[in-house]
């Protein structure tokens, strides 16, 4: 379970202060599937960075499984990310000169898992993200975008994270391959993984069970997907 309490983030650029997040509070329970939506500049990327422990809030508290992590140092945050969080990025961010299997094993290198166990866990993660076996030893830059994103999903899964954060996971894919990716994510949520997707695309957000809508750094709506007005606004 994660909890945000009165989180504010201010970026300073010389004299100019930008209030990216203003006093935001919410909870996400284990097993939820949440979509954070909003137009660009609404602060959803900033929120995603704080949820992913890549950044700390200017004020307010971020509590992850009962532990306050809003004041940790860079290296302590890295330690936390290593075990608790799986990332999926819009640009996939795979190592181009490495095989699929090596890409998926990468987080385990930093987690200090022995080489024998790494391969076993990487194969399990690839199977969980429905990645076809015949491509396991291909180089990642030989794959299509949809395939690459599924490698990235397997990489996010391999450490058994508490929460999977996906930042515009279909942003670089056509709608057909985007559907495959989103269905993979839905399957993972059904298996019990907590999933948070940051997106501005309606057809992704509509699969989520809960919608948190942001505008100008504030939450304008936090509700179950079927009751969401924001989804309808985007639709229109």
């Amino acid at each position: 379970m994660i909890e945000c309490q009165n989180i504010t983030k201010i970026y300073k650029n010389g004299e100019i202060e930008t209030h990216a997040l203003k006093n935001i509070s919410f909870k996400i329970n284990d097993g939820e599937f949440v979509a954070i939506i909003g137009p660009s500049g609404s602060g959803k990327s900033t929120l995603m960075h704080i949820l992913g422990c890549l950044d700390t809030p200017t004020s307010g508290e971020y509590i992850f499984e009962g532990k306050n992590i809003s004041k940790l140092s860079d290296d302590e945050l890295a330690e936390f990310r290593k075990n608790k969080i799986g990332f999926i990025f819009q640009m996939f961010n795979l190592l181009p000169r490495a095989t699929v299997l090596r890409n998926v094993m990468l987080p385990l290198i930093y987690a200090g898992i022995s080489p024998q166990k790494r391969e076993e866990r990487a194969k399990n993660a690839l199977m969980a993200s429905a990645f076809p076996k015949e491509f396991w030893h291909h180089f990642s830059n030989q794959l299509s975008g949809g395939m690459q994103q599924r490698v990235a999903i397997a990489r996010a899964l391999v450490n058994n994270p508490k929460i999977i954060l996906a930042d515009e996971p279909t942003g670089n894919l056509d709608s057909k391959t985007g559907d495959i990716v989103i269905n993979t994510l839905i399957d993972l949520n059904k298996k019990g993984h907590t999933l948070v997707i940051v997106t501005h695309e309606l057809y992704i957000a509509k699969h989520a069970k809960r919608i948190i809508a942001l505008k100008d750094g504030e939450i304008i709506e936090d509700t179950a997907a079927e009751k969401s007005k924001s989804l309808k606004i985007i639709k229109e």
């Binding site: 992913g52 890549l54 890295a78 290593k82 961010n93 190592l95 987080p107 290198i109 930093y110």
Partner: protein, 405 residues
Amino acid sequence: MLIRDLLQETFTALLSNKARSGLTILGIVIGIGSVIAMVSIGQGASGQIQSSIEGLGSNLLTVVPGVIQPGRGIVSSGRGSAQTLKNEDVEIIKKINGVTYVSPELQRRFQIVAPTGNNTNSTVIGVYPEYALVRNVAIDQGSFITENQVNSMERVAVLGPTVAKDLFDDSDPIGKTIRINKINFKIIGILQPKGSAGFFNPDDMVFVPLTTMQKILAGVDYLSTIAISVETKELMPQIQEQATAALSEKHRVDPQNPDFSILSQADILGALTQVTNTFTIFLAAIAGISLLVGGIGIMNMMLTTVTERTREIGLRKAIGAKKKDISMQFLTEAIMLTFIGGAIGIALGWILSILISSFAGIATSVSLTTILLAFGISAAIGIIFGYYPARKAANMNPIEALRYE
């Protein structure tokens, strides 16, 4: 992160850009190779000088008139200019315990004419039979000066091989007569060649009995050198002190400020080693400049690599790599480059030094110290020039790094 993983990452990264890695390594290869080759020339020269000075005679002390300050050079001392060493001094030195042989010597340059018509200007030394034992010279043909010949002031001469060749070409000189300073001398022996020792070339000398030299040739009663051979190396400082004290008493001078100097091989060697060391450092410094340029090449490549792989660094940080993990990865790459370059450079430098000695005839010597030093330097260059790029990578903000285009 395991060392195995670190090495695998490093090899993958270096192999993915073979041309750039190769050129950067080449810079280090040239740098280390030239350092090895240059230092080998310097060490070869110093080794050659050392062995030839030791060949002058073992455990040798040399008494010369006048004052010589060690390190100021021996050549300019004006040997023979002072006339303070006398024949009686020899007896005093012989009485010191631990002295095996004493060889009094008087040397002058004279014009020498052979019956063939050839003539040469060479050093003539008046000696006792002990000379051969003290100075390590060996007879090739005939015999050396004997005690009888010294006592009876005979006009006999022993030739160094260079002089023999100059005067008689290839014919046998034994039994023939030469004229030294217009006085006839019978040749009784030829020395074996010994090779030059820098300032001193025993091959280019003529040996006559000391008495003949003093009374007939030079007409003086003093000596230019007394050479003392000492039983063991450990006794040398002690004998040096005792001889100084005894001679000072005999000459009635202050032992702190005597009118003679006693030099050991160590003194001579020390002065020459200083010269060759300066020479070696000079050569190494020139080669070191190319090593510095190679190091800058490493830094340049690493900075480019870090910039190119910004997104990868961001990703690694996002999935849990700490600053140390990132900086170690790039530092290992830099060290790997210099290490490979260092290993090839050592091989190249070694081959180069062998080629130099076989084609140019200059003595070279590659020592283990040089090799270890070269490895140390190349690893240090990797660390020094890799540190800044690695730190730059480690301190990247993961959010900005992930967004980098």
